[in-house]
């Protein structure tokens, strides 16, 4: 078999593999969609769940996930923005920058279950926030910090030096430089980071499993110390009853809603990242 046909064969074989891998997503989507659809009756998104999740809707679970997500961004955005601005504008020492970069990588690589453990211990037990949506938001905030920082840092570094030099030449103080040059110009980078952070916080289960959620009895949290039902933990409980068809259908329905939420946020981040590139070339 001459080497030419061998090569053609190999390339063909690889193309099949690539097709297989990229169709993997479609297979996952199709299964979740096909399995989840029967559960999506009219009230699925607005009714409460009944009979331990075997029937009814997932309204409060969805609200719980949204509350945790937004709480996380609320806490994480200022810290991420502030720390990246400090690292790029004020921090000069090489070792200082290296330490910050390494800590960013540490936080990004840490298994999320450890955030749950140490987060619950520190926030829940030491700071007395107990099992509540506040603890959940704080844990998720720490978890998505690196995601936000990467996007913000990308946007700031993509900013051409010319703008900064011009700002400096005009004698702008660092704060006014940040306020009128850095933040406005990196606006899309920040928003992209927010959406990526939301997507990651929405899909996270291990970190909030025992720190922020409850099985039944709660609708909307009515105080800072109330836990919240979430889509993820609802799915976790239902998945453990996979033998019971109605429960499994509910789990798939919740999975479909969670997956579409995560995909929606990711696609929004892409659209904004597109604007970011366009912005940088302006």
């Amino acid at each position: 078999m001459s080497s030419a046909t061998f090569e053609k064969g190999m390339v063909f074989f690889l193309s099949i593999l690539t097709l297989l891998v990229s169709s993997l997503l479609l297979i996952i989507l199709a299964t979740v969609f096909a399995k989840g659809l029967p559960a999506l009756h009219s009230g699925f998104l607005i009714e409460a769940s009944e009979d331990f999740g075997r029937a009814g809707g997932i309204f409060y679970q969805l609200m719980g996930t949204l509350i945790l997500m937004t709480g996380a961004i609320l806490i994480s955005l200022p810290v991420a923005l502030g720390s990246v601005i400090y690292q790029t504008q004020y921090l000069k020492s090489k070792t200082g920058k290296e330490i910050c970069r390494q800590s960013g990588q540490v936080l990004n690589a840490t298994p999320t279950i450890l955030f749950g453990l140490v987060g619950y211990l520190f926030f829940g037990v030491y700071l007395e926030t107990g099992v509540s949506w506040v603890t959940g938001s704080l844990i998720l905030a720490v978890m998505i910090l690196p995601t936000l920082q990467v996007s913000i840092r990308e946007a700031i570094e993509a900013l051409s030096d010319q703008y900064k030099e011009t700002g400096m030449a005009l004698g702008l103080s660092p704060w006014s430089q940040i306020k009128s040059i850095i933040v406005p110009q990196c606006y899309y980078g920040i928003i992209t980071g927010v959406f990526l952070g939301l997507a990651r916080a929405a899909g996270e289960t291990a970190a909030i499993m025992f720190a922020a959620t409850t099985f039944s009895g709660i609708r909307l949290p009515e105080s800072f110390s109330d836990p919240v039902p979430t889509l993820q933990t609802h799915m976790l409980v239902l998945t453990q009853e996979a033998a019971n068809p109605e429960t499994l259908a509910q789990a798939w329905g919740a999975g479909l809603v969670l997956l579409s939420l995560v995909f929606f946020l990711t696609v929004m981040a892409w659209i904004l990242r597109g604007r970011l590139k366009m912005e940088a070339e302006l």
Partner: protein, 287 residues
């Protein structure tokens, strides 16, 4: 005007400090909380074979389970990722390349619980039937599920490593009359090898840390499988153990300290792997 900008700098410095404390605090708490058990048991905590709450705490089964599951995932992913990465970076047009990359990024974003659901409803039943096992929740199921989960990450990073190979190398190869295939395997692949190593290591780091999907399909049996290489027996990994038992012992007691020691072990392993991975990604050889 002078003190105003100084005050502002302090605010930003403060925010940066909070960020550093998060990273540092995590490590500190893990060490601080696992100190009691390490003092009590010392080394045989890591080597102890049986984990019986209240009596003895042996971390070996979890350690072994984690390593075996990750090794299995890595074994399945490596050839597939390498082959597909070559095809994407060398043989695909740029538009379809961008489309495949987008698909991969979406795949990487799928939450772990959805993979868990897929694993429980399909994978474990298939593996049970194919291999005629007693129960579908085994190391093999967890390994396959993890392979699917880390495939997008490893694939994207390896493909980036291959794209990072300078265009001149390709021109020289083509100039010498090599075919595209010979160029890909002869020039691009060896050049991109450190990057690919980095990609695989980062993939391993993520596989090690996955909790939910593994917890649902690994069978959570705190024992090393009787013939040690038997991947078709239930076992336990560190994150799965933490996920199952953390609620019971939260906050105090030797049980909690033992769990935190497990967490510390996982933390150090993942950090080491990640550190090596990032060094490779930067193209510096590991030596």
């Amino acid at each position: 005007m002078k003190n105003e900008s100084h005050g502002v700098m302090l605010v930003f410095a403060g925010l940066n400090l909070i960020f550093l404390c998060c990273a540092g605090g995590l490590f500190f708490f893990l060490i601080f909380e696992s100190y009691p058990i390490l003092k009590l048991h010392g080394f045989d905590f890591w080597l102890g074979q049986d984990w019986w709450v209240g009596e003895t705490y042996g971390a070996l089964p979890m350690l072994y389970g984690s390593t075996l599951v990750t090794a299995l995932a890595c074994l399945l992913v490596l050839p597939l990722a390498l082959a597909v990465a070559i095809f994407i970076s060398e043989f695909l047009t740029s538009t379809s390349r961008r489309f495949v990359k987008a698909v991969l990024e979406l795949l990487a974003g799928v939450p772990g619980i959805v993979y868990g659901l897929l694993g429980v409803s399909f994978l474990s039943l298939w593996i049970k039937d194919i291999f005629g096992l007693l129960d579908g929740n085994t190391l093999a199921t967890a390994g396959c599920l993890l392979a699917i989960m880390i495939l997008p990450t490893v694939l994207t990073l390896s493909e980036d490593a291959m794209r990072a190979v300078p265009a001149e190398y390709r021109e020289i190869a083509l100039g010498l009359g090599l075919s595209k295939w010979q160029m890909a395997t002869g020039v691009v692949l060896p050049q991109a090898l450190p990057g690919i190593m980095g990609a695989v290591l980062l993939g391993i780091g993520r596989a090690m840390g996955e909790t939910i999907a593994v917890m649902l399909v690994v069978g959570s049996l705190d024992r090393i499988p009787d013939p040690w290489f038997n991947i078709f027996s239930s076992a336990q990994t560190i994150p799965s153990k933490l996920g199952r038992e953390a609620a019971e012992s939260i906050g105090e007691g030797t049980h909690w300290s033992a769990l935190m020691a497990l967490g510390l072990m996982l933390f150090i392993m993942v950090l080491l792997i990640n550190f090596l991975g990032n060094r490779c990604l930067k193209g510096r050889s590991i030596s």
